[in-house]
Point group: C2
Chain length 304, copies 2
Amino acid sequence: MICVLSGGVGAARLLSALAKVVTASDLHAVVNVGDDLVMHGLTICPDLDTISYTLAGLNNTELGWGLAGESWRVMKELNELGGEAWFALGDRDLATHLYRSQRLAAGATKSMVTAELTRHWGLDMTILPVSNDPISTEFSTELGRLSFQEYFVRHHHEVAVTDIQFSGAAVARLSDESRHALLTSERIVIAPSNPLISIAPILAVADVRDILTTRRSEVVAVSPIINGAAIKGPADRLLGELGHEVSCVGVARYYRDLVGTMIIDVADAHHESAIRELGMEVIVSPTIMSDPDHARALAAAVLR
Amino acid sequence: MICVLSGGVGAARLLSALAKVVTASDLHAVVNVGDDLVMHGLTICPDLDTISYTLAGLNNTELGWGLAGESWRVMKELNELGGEAWFALGDRDLATHLYRSQRLAAGATKSMVTAELTRHWGLDMTILPVSNDPISTEFSTELGRLSFQEYFVRHHHEVAVTDIQFSGAAVARLSDESRHALLTSERIVIAPSNPLISIAPILAVADVRDILTTRRSEVVAVSPIINGAAIKGPADRLLGELGHEVSCVGVARYYRDLVGTMIIDVADAHHESAIRELGMEVIVSPTIMSDPDHARALAAAVLR
């Protein structure tokens, strides 16, 4: 059994690659909920949905997010009404949020709703919210305090960040299913998701850091920074703004207490010795899952 | 200024008729909120929306409810997910509920949201929720306690009712705008809406009954029962089940302390003397607004 600490898009790609070489039922994703939001009264879980949609093959490959075959009637009408339409919710996607919101109101947990949805979509992989309690990632920025989606979507992560908080994380309880997956899996993988905003909220939940520290030699992390840059999103910018080295070495240093093995891209092979000096093993592998061969190579590296 | 106590469809028709003979800005609808519900996390106000949509000319005349040019993508997807899809919400209609839910979460009242929406739709008439506090109409039935929409939509109002409660009405405050309209209008009109489930929740709000009692000679009610039957909906059945005479006389008796003048249909002209014996004035008029002439005649009767 493999347990993957997961954000959104980058984690979904790694999980897809792993699903080709491991029995899907052996894969458990422990997913960030710090991006979750309540908007228009609806509870929206972007990372859980991105992973579910992608693994079910329902993802919109043109947009790079959301569902394939999407339509936008509700948003168009909401925009015409003068409503808050900057956070685009497709009509198909809205059905997910309506379903979830109704089930939560009826007393279900996010874990239960995720299990219901993934079963409906025929997924064999287990997708787990790290916690059923609310956690919100918030940013101190040059524009003041911003919620995750205000920072990420509304301002296109183009504002300077001075601090990141995970509101609620201190009292959030690790979900039972996530705890079980973290304790019993043969290997724990940190996906190439943004360390500071996708993985950090998972690590901020009580016991996660302790479990990883204890199991450090079985923990492997894939660097999301390749040749000093993120493939997508603000991981590079944020690492720099918050005083980290913007390289796979900076990521390794950030994870050093929790991670036994770093997987770095072939383009970063020259950083191998610097990471070994941190007391970590290093695997050099293709990490950009741009074609099936690279994805397979990365999956093999993770399982090595 | 005319103030109309309003439910949904029947009230919307009367208001449309009145808007043809009175300056729209002189019309104030004080609207039932007992049908309001929170579903899928969304706050839905069926009577406020029915009246707004109809008066704005946006109503779906084929269905008899909802918006014209409607599409159903979200509901179709929600149904496929196994979600609760028995309460049909069109894609256009959903935009209204998303807008309202977002504004309420931001601290706006239903009055404010209604004003924003009706301004957006270019309505000159003033549409007012009777209260900004929650009221839920609930039914004791042969199947147990049902919410309004469970009774009305899910069970097609085909179950026997033994009692009706207006949960929250005892502590709900009459909205300032509704109070002003009720106190200052030249005439108060009770629309031909269901007395027991559309008008009664309005009357259950503190001070409404007192204001009407004090102003009784200026209060006129249009009977929704014609020749012993309701045009639409369960008004006739409910009157019978709850021990009222199923006729315009039964309606007059129900309203007698509050209403100075009953308007009854020409088909019920033979009931005139029985209603006069209750100490009420009677106007006999066409009351089915099936064509413009009848609508105009009813509007004239209301304003007489």
